[in-house]
Symmetry: C2
Subunit: 730 residues, 2 copies
């Protein structure tokens, strides 16, 4: 219930943020007037480049250059300060030294400016002095309700003909289109604009976010989701700062009503710090795991390279999604058809089994040597009519969800005419069609036709098949099933008490004793256990519980087995007495200075599959949950799944089923099917625990024994690392 | 020893083949005169396209068009038949209907022609009738010692200025260069030539092999290896036909003296037939495993897409190999530097730790805000001098094995000048340098400079880093260590006797009884065992061996556990008697008609790691060997390694160490280190067994128990599938 309330509170907060955001962002993308502070006549200066770009962009509003020394900039009357501008100013673009920006921002506020784009560098990226200026700048903006893009950015471009604003110093213009691009790297923006121009790819909006002092990806994604010009959003991200909110907002945008697909490149994958970690979860988690979970949970498709990003974006921007994964391939050459088949199947798509009616139609239109089964080979001497018959036939087939259309230029090939038959047939069918007109020069006339009619095309069939697969994966995200949520009663107060007590005592590591208390409060099934402080007490416990495991309890002893501090399968009271003495003696021998609290005696767990459940908390993202099979599976195969908390029932199921070793929980090799429902519940409890108690920095339940179906799961061992809470829950 | 002799014989055979091959291939690539049979004046005809291509290619020899009806072709005097040509003819290019080709080939032979290129289609690819014509054509060529390219191909191109022959009907010309391309798909040739022309990539030779009736990849690779114009060979392969020979020849070419790197795309990966398989090895192996093993063992680098193939080929053709994997990255922008760092590390390279002298030099040349550590960031306002200082410094550093050079066009960037500093510095250093001048249009002047001086360049840094990784991987192949070979005495005759006997009796599946005999003959340690035909015999065996496993022996019962036909841990003679009776009774109950030979009683294996060793034989490739950990590792994780037999000591070690679960054999989680040396020997024995006995179609040793170091391995179970030999060993 607590989580539901928290989520509710956040939703409201998000809505408020959205309202403010939208207004400020309108001033950025569609201002009625722009002041360019630092506009300059100096050749090669950024101030001149920005001003000239705005002038050249068919901007529908009014531009005011601001420069204390110049009468005019590029022939436009200049003003010494913003205060001198006779009219209202919506947006100010700043190209002045960093140190002057707070003062200029104040001036802007006084003028009633709604938003700033600060292009100047010299802020946080240069060190503490710059960071202080950035902080001051943000404070001014906050105080006066101004939104801020940058600082240290290339600027923004809006190709909407109603506005037409290029407020950037990019050398290359952006063609209008329906792809939005948000980049954390200014240098990449330049290269991307250049690449896109040559590839004839257009943009709706283009934003260099720079240091993201105010406006970051999330605000922009919200805005672009509502932007009628934007059909797909591309992100280049080095770091995100608000993980939990990102998931909550973006999953609705990518997967809710009027969904907007989002594609991302995340760089900095290997920049992992070598921070010491104390748990399995800690050592397996890392920023890669966090971002993969983040993107997966928010429905963002992660591309592996910039070229892939474009390949996919063009498909998303121009084609409908396939309803399922049964693809038809049409080709006029065997080799490329084989290549496309390979990649199609490799990327999780299927070759459609064509209906009998289809093959009959194909047989009637194609020569005897053609392949009328999928991949359909219309043969090297095919002219456009044969391609047309084949495309029409497969698109009519209800067993076909999309078409990969391949053309290799051969002597009889009618390149342009063949290109021309695709768009209308594709449009009428409502199914996605992607093309590979192979080569570059020979087929250029055909490619012009494809581009004009928005049929995505690729040099080679591999990229075409991969793009189709991306469309299909997004279709799966949109149509995913939602499991009924499960109500799990928890005793948050009881757990909080244990944590508070431990922190008060200065304990950072909690072992089984307190760990079990906390887990039990969250509904985990813990095994009967007792802390024995004498051999007799240990014997009594074994008499009561049956066969037990016994472990030393000492804050100084973390690796208990290493010091001979563990016994398992202690079956009788007599054995327990002996074991107690030996464990205490071993501990004293290995670590004479260790403070020994006693020996933990716990009933041996019933048989089951050993799994590991874990939590690791990340500052900007909150708790990352981990699941995997224990032992070698986690240590050698690293076969684990991650999700950021909170998760829902869907997420818990996904975590369980997405490890490779999942069949071992599902009756592989004649074993009993494990209690997966209870395991899913345990993951939901873990998620609740993680979100309820921000003091839990790391947690390992290792192993959790998953018994056979209907018999539940038991915690066999656990370890928790606490850190004093120093802020709100996330 | 047998294998050594076989290998020796093959080496000689290969040498002979090489001599013939070279002569015939010279006539194909550098003929003194060419007859074009079927040359035509008809517009759009292939006969005209080929003839015009030769005419236009600055061919240094003499061309004779042959056409019974025309006086001249494109102004060149024509001859009605080859017999009418007054001079010697080296090469005949045939563009006549398939059915006429055998007759024309005979005419060519009579004229003393040394080689044919048959461009015409209508052969094997069209069905049995065409196949018969193809066979006849090949027979004529064989009889008269003529070599043959095709049929059903695009032709060949030789850009060597001494010859200058474009005997193809490609629309696009090939630029001279030092990359050779061999393609099994004609359609792909066209697209590749087109793509390369636009990307300014040149070729030494370009060969469309068509149906490969005579000349295939292997002969061409041999020829190109000796071709001074060729520095790297690219293959597009759909199927290869001589696996064992391919490995033997190509490993020398890619890894011997004056090595030639070979890059391949293999298509048809998912075209796997659903043939029934009877063993684990059979179900896990497949054409993908075969080709991966084939390429790996022969040092051929497999690319994943055509664009990757080109990306790598350009690097191999123009840059030296890095001595190790320590890379420096130079960039003028953070984002692209991060991307390059990611891919660098992800592809098995390292970021070099720059020496102190280097960072000092960098500090002296670069502004304070620059990053003087790797990745070196010269900052956005860098002109060419700063780039030059940085490149010089890192190339001088002995900790740097190669450089990835990134430029993003910014306002101060001197694109052309910066490009110009790279070639000389790179050349002097002897280290590879690859560049990414990001974008397309803005940087085109710089790219011209790079291309002119043979510095490989890529639109985005990902591809640059991947190309560098390919260079490094090839460098590893060239410098790999060779383990001393191990002499393993085997009793080939004893094993052959068991196999012959079984085949004579009509047995196809061999179980433990004969399996153990065969394995023992090859030096495998098999457990003491006996076939008991009575309860008393079973009891006696247990009395003698100690605790045993007991299994039903019946040719009709393959899945013994399923019918209650297996007992393990039978400890006493009394237990053995009981178990015998129960096993027999269970078998009779489940399969009353089964012929029961008795119960196999075998000593329980000592503890160890369970691994699986397997053989599956492929027609054109010989035996594929498999290795992996048993049980779930093979069944769920499919964590296995493959090699084609024969393997050497290196190969055996590689098989053992390349599975993911290898740490489990190497003392992971505190376990004993397993006897890996004996395991390697077992794999060598397996290889010998597979090459010595072509009747073994499939074999599983599952499990082989690998005991701890020094304690050997024992065969705990095995199964062999025989097929009557119908040809030579491979």
């Amino acid at each position: 219930m607590a989580a539901a309330t928290a989520a509710g509170g956040k939703a409201k907060q998000a809505q408020r943020a959205k309202a403010v955001s939208a207004e400020g962002l309108t001033a950025i993308f569609s201002p009625a007037s722009v002041a360019v502070v630092g506009a300059s006549n100096r050749p090669d200066s950024v101030g001149r480049a920005v001003f000239k770009n705005i002038l050249a962009s068919d901007y529908s509003g009014i531009i005011y250059p601001v420069n204390p020394k110049a009468k005019s900039i590029c022939g436009v009357r200049a003003y010494p300060t913003m205060g001198n501008i006779p009219d209202q100013v919506d947006l100010a673009v700043l190209i002045v030294p960093a140190a002057q920006t707070p003062a200029v921002a104040r001036e802007a506020a006084a003028k009633g400016v709604k938003a700033l784009i600060v292009i100047s560098a010299g802020f946080r990226e240069t060190g503490p002095a710059g960071a202080a200026i950035e902080q001051e700048l943000v404070a001014v903006c906050l105080e006066h309700g101004m939104r801020l893009v940058g600082p240290n950015c290339l600027g923004i471009i809006n190709t909407d003909p109603l506005t037409g604003l290029n407020a950037s110093f990019a050398r290359q213009k952006a063609k209008p289109g329906n792809i939005a691009f948000i980049s954390q790297s200014g240098a990449l923006c330049t290269a991307v604009l250049d690449f896109a121009a040559k590839k004839n790819i257009g943009f709706s909006k283009f934003i260099s976010v720079g240091n993201k002092a105010d406006i970051g990806e999330l605000a922009l994604i919200r805005y672009l989701h509502d932007d009628p010009q934007t059909k797909v959003i591309m992100l280049y991200v080095e770091e995100l700062r608000h993980g939990a909110e990102f998931i909550e907002v973006v999953r609705e945008i990518t997967g809710g009503e009027n969904p907007t697909p989002i594609l991302a490149i995340k760089a900095g994958r290997t920049a992992e710090g070598a921070a010491a970690v104390s748990s399995h979860t800690g050592s397996l988690a890392g920023s890669e795991a966090v971002y993969n979970a983040l993107f997966e949970q928010s429905g963002v498709f992660r591309a592996q390279s910039i070229e892939e990003l474009f390949d996919y974006a063009v498909a998303f921007a121009n084609q409908p999604l396939p309803r399922s994964n049964r693809m038809a391939i049409i080709t006029n050459a065997g080799g490329p058809g084989i290549i496309a088949t390979d990649v199609t199947i490799h990327s999780g798509l299927k070759l459609a089994a064509l209906g009998e009616a289809t093959t009959e139609v194909l047989r009637s239109h194609l020569p005897a040597s053609a392949n009328i089964h999928n991949p359909v080979d219309v043969i090297g001497d095919a002219r456009s009519d044969r391609y047309q018959a084949a495309l029409e036939a497969v698109l009519h087939d209800e067993n076909v969800d999309g078409v990969i259309f391949i053309l290799t230029p051969q002597s009889m090939t009618e390149i342009e005419e063949t290109a021309a038959i695709i768009p209308e047939l594709a449009r009428k069918s409502g199914k996605p069609v992607v093309a590979s007109f192979m080569g570059l020069m020979d087929v250029s006339k055909g490619i012009e036709v494809l581009e004009q009619h928005r049929i995505p095309h690729y040099h080679f069939p591999e990229a075409a098949a991969r793009a189709m697969s991306a469309l299909y994966q997004y279709s799966c995200w949109l149509h995913r099933q939602h499991l009924e949520e499960i109500a799990l009663p928890v005793d948050r107060t009881a757990a909080a008490k244990v944590i508070r007590r431990a922190l008060k005592n200065g304990s950072q590591y909690l072992g089984e004793v307190e760990g079990n208390e906390i887990l039990a409060a969250y509904g985990f099934s813990v095994l009967p256990s007792r802390l024995a402080v004498s051999a007799d007490e240990a014997a009594a416990a074994v008499a009561e519980f049956g066969p037990c495991a016994m472990k030393i309890v000492s804050p100084q002893i973390v690796h208990k087995s290493d010091v001979g501090g563990v016994r398992v399968g202690v079956a009788t009271p007599a054995e327990a007495q002996r074991a107690y003495a030996e464990i205490i003696a071993a501990a004293r021998r290995h670590l004479p200075e260790a403070e020994v609290h006693g020996v933990f005696v716990q009933r041996m767990a019933a048989r089951g599959v050993e799994v590991i459940l874990g939590i690791k908390r990340y500052p900007a993202f909150g708790p990352l949950l981990m699941f995997g099979l224990g032992g070698i599976f986690v240590e050698i195969f690293k076969d684990v799944s991650f999700r950021l908390a909170p998760i829902r029932h869907n997420g818990a199921r996904h975590m369980v089923r997405s490890i490779k070793a999942y069949p071992m929980l599902d009756g592989a090799r004649g074993a009993a099917v494990a209690d997966q429902e209870e395991l899913e519940r345990c993951l939901l409890r873990l998620s609740r625990l993680a979100t309820d108690h921000p003091e839990i920095a790391e947690l390992d339940i290792n192993p959790l024994m998953v018994h056979e179906q209907g018999k539940g799961c038991s915690v066999a061992d656990c370890r928790i690392l606490l850190r004093p809470s120093d802020g709100p829950a996330e």
